[in-house]
Symmetry: C2
Subunit: 491 residues, 2 copies
């Protein structure tokens, strides 16, 4: 598809050339044939924003309205500084309230007041209200420019009314139907309206089985509703059940992506970036990355404490080869738990299941954890035998003529070497069985518990997981190795 | 929002009750007020599928068409077995080609042939074609039921034409405009058609700046186009640039979620599940989880080999306390690289950047990696001093009167203890600086390299990362500890 995507660098140079030549016709032509988002990307590359003003003065306002929406925040702000109040008012007039509220959130205070001074009073009230909704709620992502139609209208009357006022609304693909008390009583999809007979009443055509969300509903929940019911737009109501806005499916696409990024970020111990990777400054990146690493470093102290105990224990001093398997045990436990917690966090996030399904999930995971860790453990036992027989790990207590016995030098066929190898392999693979199993169980309990407390499992459960698994694995290892050491006379 | 979501268990019982009482009116009423997806979920719980047949016989076909689409595959198959050919043909007639193709992919062979026998010949050809597109391409997710309009029609003529045939098409929110040679020349959004003057020609109204994708374009790329250009539907063309289908935004929502799940799965070393977590059998779960754990276990052998070297080295035998910091080093390196690879994989997946931005990304990451790892390393140095002074880790070579010196027993104020602690802390924190920095650099190079080779970075880069980081960290540790041991007289 590379060939069909516009080359932004090329476009930037072309636009700059047309602006220098004051080629108004050329600029207008570009807006006819190239998607506005691509032009906006090109304009974002301008070093001299005053050149952009020329575009805004020459191109039709229907294009500049979209262009302005798509500009980068810093470009937008510089541009506003160069505009007269009249020009600013005209541009602002063309913006949707929710987009404008998003812009304002990122502006310095002096610009905010200039922008708000240049929008009509009633609109200012709406924007202020949007700004007050908590982040990540339906209220914060909804649009307030929606169209309501009375249920007593006929299809033809409804179409006439849409034609007279609809163009300013964000979507008319889903229409919200109210009764004479202004209560929401149904929805009509635009296509159903088109297919209806002209004289049919909206109250006959409309879907009565519509769903709504509250302004305070979490955006992830809103996304799940829109997906589940396959909607173009969902009605947002306030606590009095009055219609106050709507969320359209293109906003939902952004929510789904944002939530996925948050899940990936949390599972990878980094705070989610607000901007794209390339737009995030080094200082911000440090702020996103450092905190969790330091928290995990401090939590890791528990692991260090256990390893301090292990390193001074009788069995590990006498059979130092056992130390070599510590990374394998920690990594396998971590990987095993990591798989399960990832499935849990995505499953909870996309509402495949909820904390109410606790027992179902636990039963399922316990069974599969047992099977998975048993199979891995059997494989590991064989692999650890191979590691010892090929001399990948070596037991210095078993030197024969100053050499480590391996299959390569043929010194490995003594019964003492066999017994010790079996003992070591068994100790490590039994620990691994317990570690991998426990890891999966902890990886189910932690996120479900955190979700039941209405907290975000991705953020809280994941960091604790590694530490708990490391400590559990190493303590099991200490105990099991001690038992096997005496059973197999390892020392 | 819990109160507005339908209680499925309740609904199942209610439906079963109505069916036993043969209460046709009651059943029909439920379909009027409850979303079909919720009814389908309730029907999926039926133990006796023959009860479902009663619903299909009593309810209007516009409802049963949707209901059938939403049923679980196994329920669908059982239901088909209970239907006569005539009933089956009627239901199939109401299904969209792309949904039907998806169903067929999961059916046993005998059912497939019965289904295909009951659809008209031309339709069978279309479905067979859909089945042949490669998974995860535009062709595999597109619908073939779309509406094209000639560019010479007027707005009124277009609306009349839509009214006459549109109802069977999957979407009419975006209309595709062709010239008399059947070449795609533009698109019109339904709302623009409604707002247009009746006598205006489509060639005047239509957007000429539309984008298309090829049938073989990867679905992730299709999703990125739909998002970028804020589309309701995108045209899919074949290699001859002829329009063959379209992908709608609700399919894109599923793609975005699926791709996010794949990224999370790959980063967590588990193969992506095809079904929801609760619907995946234990055997399938084992198949998804075990392979990567075993691959990682085998790759971990390199780590074991290095640790075997370390454990037998002079410096670690003389200063065994250094062993206690191995997990911290491995975990911190892993966490540091994990952050970066997650940002890379999501960034590449959502096209925030491409392998072409190689130098931009590298420069950015090198700077922030240096700053981040320096800050962490300074913090770690202080923390390791605290660990030694409080006796969290203890150096058995420094026993005073049989006790480990700590601030608690006041034995820590000797210059020898101070020098040794500084030496150990420095060795570990300098290694940590190198490990965290290298981890981030490797975590950039690997996925970018894999993506440049047109392979999926999530699947290939991530497993290699941990092993490489572990080996690099441990080898650095061995070298650095040896230098510091002689510089600070640690032994």
């Amino acid at each position: 598809m590379e060939n069909e995507v516009v080359d932004i660098e090329n476009l930037t140079e072309k636009l700059l050339g047309l602006i220098s030549n004051k080629d108004v016709k050329g600029i207008r032509q570009i807006f006819e044939v190239i998607p506005t988002i691509d032009i906006a990307d090109a304009c974002n590359q301008f070093e001299d924003i005053s050149k952009l003003v020329f575009i805004f003065k020459t191109v039709k306002s229907e294009y500049t309205a979209d262009l302005f929406t798509e500009l980068d925040p810093d470009v937008k702000q510089e541009l506003i500084n160069m505009m007269s109040d009249a020009e600013l008012a005209e541009i602002l007039d063309s913006q949707f309230n929710d987009d404008l509220a998003d812009d304002i959130e990122e502006m310095p205070a002096n610009l905010v007041s200039r922008v708000l001074r240049n929008v009509p009073k009633e609109r200012r009230a709406v924007i202020n209200k949007l700004l007050n909704y908590q982040e990540n709620t339906a209220g914060s992502i909804m649009t307030t420019e929606f169209l309501t139609l009375l249920d007593s209208l006929t299809a033809d009357e409804a179409i006439a009314r849409i034609r007279s006022i609809g163009k300013e609304k964000e979507t008319i693909f889903t229409l919200f139907i109210i009764d004479k008390n202004r209560n929401l009583v149904g929805t009509v999809d635009l296509d159903d309206l088109i297919f209806a007979k002209g004289e049919e009443k909206l109250s006959k055509i409309m879907n009565r089985d519509f769903v709504t969300v509250n302004v305070n509903t979490d955006q992830e929940e809103v996304a799940n509703m829109v997906k589940r019911y396959d909607l173009n737009a969902i009605a947002v109501v306030n606590n009095d059940e009055r219609l106050v806005g709507l969320v359209t499916i293109d906003d939902i696409v952004d929510v789904i992506e944002q939530e996925a990024n948050e899940d990936v970020a949390a599972l990878s111990h980094v705070a989610p970036l607000e901007d794209s990777y390339l737009d995030t400054s080094v200082a911000k990146m440090a702020k996103k990355c450092i905190p969790w690493i330091i928290v995990l470093l401090v939590l890791g102290t528990f692991t260090t404490m256990v390893l301090d105990k292990i390193e001074k224990s009788n069995v590990f001093s006498l059979v130092p080869v056992l130390i070599c398997f510590v990374p394998t045990l920690m990594d396998t436990g971590g990987n095993s738990g990591g798989q399960t917690i990832a499935l849990m966090i995505r499953g909870l996030g996309t509402k495949e299941f909820t904390p109410k399904d606790f027992w179902k999930v636990i039963r399922k995971e316990a069974t599969s954890a047992l099977i998975i860790s048993s199979i891995i453990s059997v494989f590991a036992f064989v692999w650890f035998m191979i590691e010892q027989y090929t001399g990948i790990v070596t037991n210095e207590k078993l030197l024969v003529d100053g050499q480590f016995p391996t299959i390569w030098n043929g010194l490995c066929w003594s019964s003492q070497f066999f017994t010790t190898s079996i003992g070591v392999s068994l100790a490590v693979s039994v620990t691994l069985l317990i570690a991998a199993f426990m890891a999966k169980i902890i990886a189910v309990l932690l996120p479900l518990g955190v979700a039941a407390l209405k907290k975000d499992p991705a953020v809280i459960a994941q960091p604790l997981l590694t530490t708990i698994i490391d400590v559990v694995s190493l303590l099991s290892y200490l105990g099991i190795a001690t038992v096997f050491a005496s059973a197999f006379n390892l020392a």
